[in-house]
């Protein structure tokens, strides 16, 4: 076969997939997996990742279609292109999986994560925390005289950045939801 042969893409939207299948480069991909919301479905997905040695960076799951009993699992994973393709194919084999979307290759997508930060402190640090929260458009959802709980939404990088800033100001606890993602446009 000619080296320049253009293979049909591994995605629904892109006509071409020029990524070399057996490259060593580790890529980060966001997958959206639509599953039947039956007991054990999450165990099937997680068990697949554990059993075959794939990575999970983050995972969120909730029912998105109550009538159709469909849940959406958003998984952020990493691996070589070959591993990513295997993950998608293996997910597709699960009988209760309806669709697997690779948001990273299927065109532009938006990712959002919600996090809550508890920051404790007094005096200037407390004021600085509030000021930075304002810049990051974080909301105060609870407050005592010595603490705030901030709620922040954004791309994971923005939340990481906010965490870095809060750490010297008295960061006591963090809760993150993991990434939810949707493709852009129609």
């Amino acid at each position: 076969m000619s080296a320049l042969k253009i293979k049909k893409g591994a995605s629904a939207k892109s006509a071409y997939n020029l990524r070399p299948t057996f490259s060593d480069v580790i890529e980060r991909h966001t997958l959206a997996v639509l599953v039947e919301n039956e007991p054990g479905v999450l165990a099937r997905v997680i068990g697949l990742f554990a059993g075959r040695g794939y990575n999970i960076e983050s995972l969120t799951v909730a029912e998105v279609d109550h009538q159709g009993h469909l849940s959406r699992i958003t998984i952020v994973t990493n691996g070589t292109p070959q591993v990513i393709e295997q993950i998608k194919a293996q997910l597709g084999r699960i009988v209760t999986v309806h669709k697997v979307h690779d948001l990273t290759v299927e065109g532009p997508s938006v990712e959002r994560e919600l996090a809550m930060f508890k920051v404790t402190g007094q005096g200037e640090k407390r004021v600085e925390a509030l000021r930075l929260a304002d810049i990051f458009r974080a909301n105060v959802v609870d407050s005592t005289l010595e603490s705030f709980v901030f709620e922040i939404t954004g791309a994971p990088e923005k939340i990481d950045a906010f965490a870095d800033l809060m750490r010297p100001l008295g960061l006591a606890d963090v809760a993150r939801t993991g990434v939810a993602a949707l493709s852009r446009g129609d």
Partner: protein, 583 residues
């Protein structure tokens, strides 16, 4: 149309509606209502095995030899956990079986009740899919869906866990109808890729068909199409252990099995080919050997119904996702419409090279002296049984490889062996399942004495149902394959690979009421085999063979296809440290 009945009755009704005639099982507290229903009907025959693992392997043997799904019924807890090995075996070899397990009543689940186990949790990674049914109204739908999932796409084992209160309660039964579930694997291959493969077939100078169990699973029509394609193109064909019989061993283009203990010519063809057409095989590590040296100069096409098989270990140039039968039909259609072209001159030259390799005669051996060589035993078994309506099962180990090398398979579904999982103890119960599916056929289990002992209790099953299965045991008083690896890799330190106290197999057979035959002299072998064949009933044939025979050819771990060992003289220091960590 719906009817009211108990859950237990639904199970039997669903099995009848699915065309099941035989169930392999073992009763226990949590399945008693279902056994009560089985007692009160005459449509389904229940075969009482002696261990649940035996039930699953018997169902596998039944499924592989008939092409229909096999069915097992076992109880909760230990019944279910004993089925796990069989489920994993069926998953690895893509065998359609349905295992029904009893479960403690729904209101006791999670309370560590007597004989409770998290069956769906335990079997989730070793089934294609499984269900815990908590409502009787859902039961019949799940049972029909279980058959659909087990038999469509890449076949595999499924499990339905049925709590005892669900079996007792009344509910409405739904008839079998075409599945409406979203699980509908695609059967037709992509036409553009098929065109590309046809173009490659037309140009190829050194082509090879490399076929696997997918051809057998696709059904007898797929084997017919394969034979037509091979005959029309005159390309050589080799097969994995799982695919033996799809193309006849007596066929002109047959190279024999490939892989770790495959034939010299088959492996050399794989290494040197310029077009490899993988049909329903999965580039298993027993086939590929060293990955970075695997068939370095070939264009690779891969036909597989499971998209996850494509590019899993070997990068392919022409991937075709679809059912083997459907894809072969399209290949033939397109290839014929384009004028049936091949590069016949180059393929002729290729055959000249292949015929040179064949002259190595890699399976030659010398039967000299008064000790039976295992190869000789199988050669005589082949000669004396090949004209019978014959089905062969095996256990796992050296005898399995020798059987694959020295026995010839002319048709699909005639060869039952544990390929992917390598389950010792598979063959005997499998032979019982095969005999149930083919009551008048000659069913032989080629075994090693160690493997055979792993499920020897099934001799009781064979006697109870008068199943005349022939157990042909190549007895070397060793775990032969383990011993061979210890010789090659572990400085001849034979750690625990020697059976110190074996039973007297003739007396063992007689204790069950079966016939036992012992043979140790090559001159008596033919008569002894004839005695086995002429006996109407189960026979335990104790064939005492050479104790230190090694299985060749062999591709050592970490080596490439063209680095085969052909005999004892080649074996010194062949496996390096890197290779020795591989299994």
């Amino acid at each position: 149309m719906t009817r009211q009945m108990t859950g237990a009755k639904m199970v039997v009704q669903a099995l009848i509606d699915q065309g099941v005639d035989t169930v392999f099982g073992y009763p226990g507290g949590a399945v008693l209502p279902i056994y009560d229903e089985i007692f009160q009907q005459n449509h389904i025959k229940h075969i009482l095995v002696r261990h649940e693992q035996g039930a699953v392997h018997a169902a596998e043997g039944y499924a592989r030899s008939t092409g229909k799904p096999g069915v097992c019924l076992v109880t909760s807890g230990p019944g279910a956990t004993n089925a796990v090995t069989g489920l994993t075996d069926a998953l690895m070899d893509s065998i359609p079986i349905i295992v029904l397990t009893g479960q403690v009543p729904t209101f006791m689940i999670g309370s560590d009740a007597f004989q409770e186990a998290d069956t769906v949790g335990i079997t989730r990674p070793c089934t294609k899919h499984n269900w815990l049914v908590k409502e009787t109204d859902a039961l019949s739908g799940v049972l029909h869906e279980a058959f659909h999932v087990a038999t469509s796409g890449r076949p595999g084992p499924v499990l339905v866990d049925i709590p005892k209160d669900v079996q007792f309660a009344n509910g409405s039964y739904t008839e079998k109808k075409p599945s409406t579930s979203h699980y509908q694997p695609k059967l037709k291959g992509d036409m553009q890729e098929i065109e590309e493969l046809v173009a490659a077939i037309e140009k190829a100078k050194k082509p090879v068909f490399y076929t696997g169990g997918g051809v057998i699973n696709s059904g007898p029509a797929a084997s017919q199409l394969l034979r037509e394609l091979v005959a029309a193109t005159n390309f050589p064909i080799t097969s994995t252990l799982m695919g033996l019989g799809a193309y006849p061993a007596s066929g002109e283009n047959w190279l024999g099995m490939l892989g770790m203990h495959g034939l010299y010519e088959a492996n050399m063809v794989m290494h040197d080919c310029d077009l490899m057409i993988n049909i329903g095989a999965r580039f298993d590590d027993r086939i590929t050997g060293r990955l970075d040296a695997f068939s370095p100069n070939s264009t690779k096409a891969h036909i597989d119904i499971d998209p996850s098989s494509i590019n899993k270990v070997i990068r392919v140039d022409i991937p075709i996702v679809g059912d083997v039968g459907h894809v072969l039909e399209d290949i033939l259609k397109i290839w014929k419409s384009r004028g049936r072209k091949t590069n016949a001159d180059a393929v002729g030259t290729w055959w000249n090279q292949i015929n040179e390799w064949k002259k190595v005669d890699c399976l030659k051996f010398q039967q000299a002296g008064k000790v039976i060589k295992p190869q000789y035993a199988l050669e005589r078994l082949e000669a004396l049984t090949k004209d019978h309506d014959r089905y062969i099962c095996t256990e796992v180990g050296q005898h399995q490889m020798w059987a694959a090398q020295y026995l010839g398979f002319e048709d699909p579904n005639r060869w039952m062996t544990s390929g992917g999982l390598g389950t010792m103890g598979y063959g005997f119960p499998a032979s019982i399942g095969v005999q149930m599916g083919h009551p008048d056929a000659l069913v032989i289990n080629v075994a090693g004495e160690a493997s055979w002992l792993m499920n020897m209790q099934e001799l009781g099953t064979a006697m109870q149902y008068n199943l005349p299965v022939k157990q042909f045991i190549l007895n070397n008083e060793r775990l032969g394959m383990v011993r061979q690896w210890q010789e090659l890799l572990h400085g001849e330190r034979y750690s625990s690979s020697w059976s110190e106290s074996l039973p007297d197999f003739v007396k063992l057979a007689e204790a069950f009421g079966a016939k036992g035959i012992i043979c140790s002299d090559p001159d008596d072998l033919d008569d002894a085999i004839m005695e086995m064949l002429n006996h109407d009933g189960p026979v335990l044939f104790d064939c005492l063979v050479e104790k230190h025979e090694n299985c060749f050819p062999m591709i050592p771990s970490g080596k490439a296809h063209n680095e085969m060992l052909l005999g004892e003289a080649d074996t010194q220091g062949v496996i390096d440290a890197k290779g020795s960590v591989l299994v």
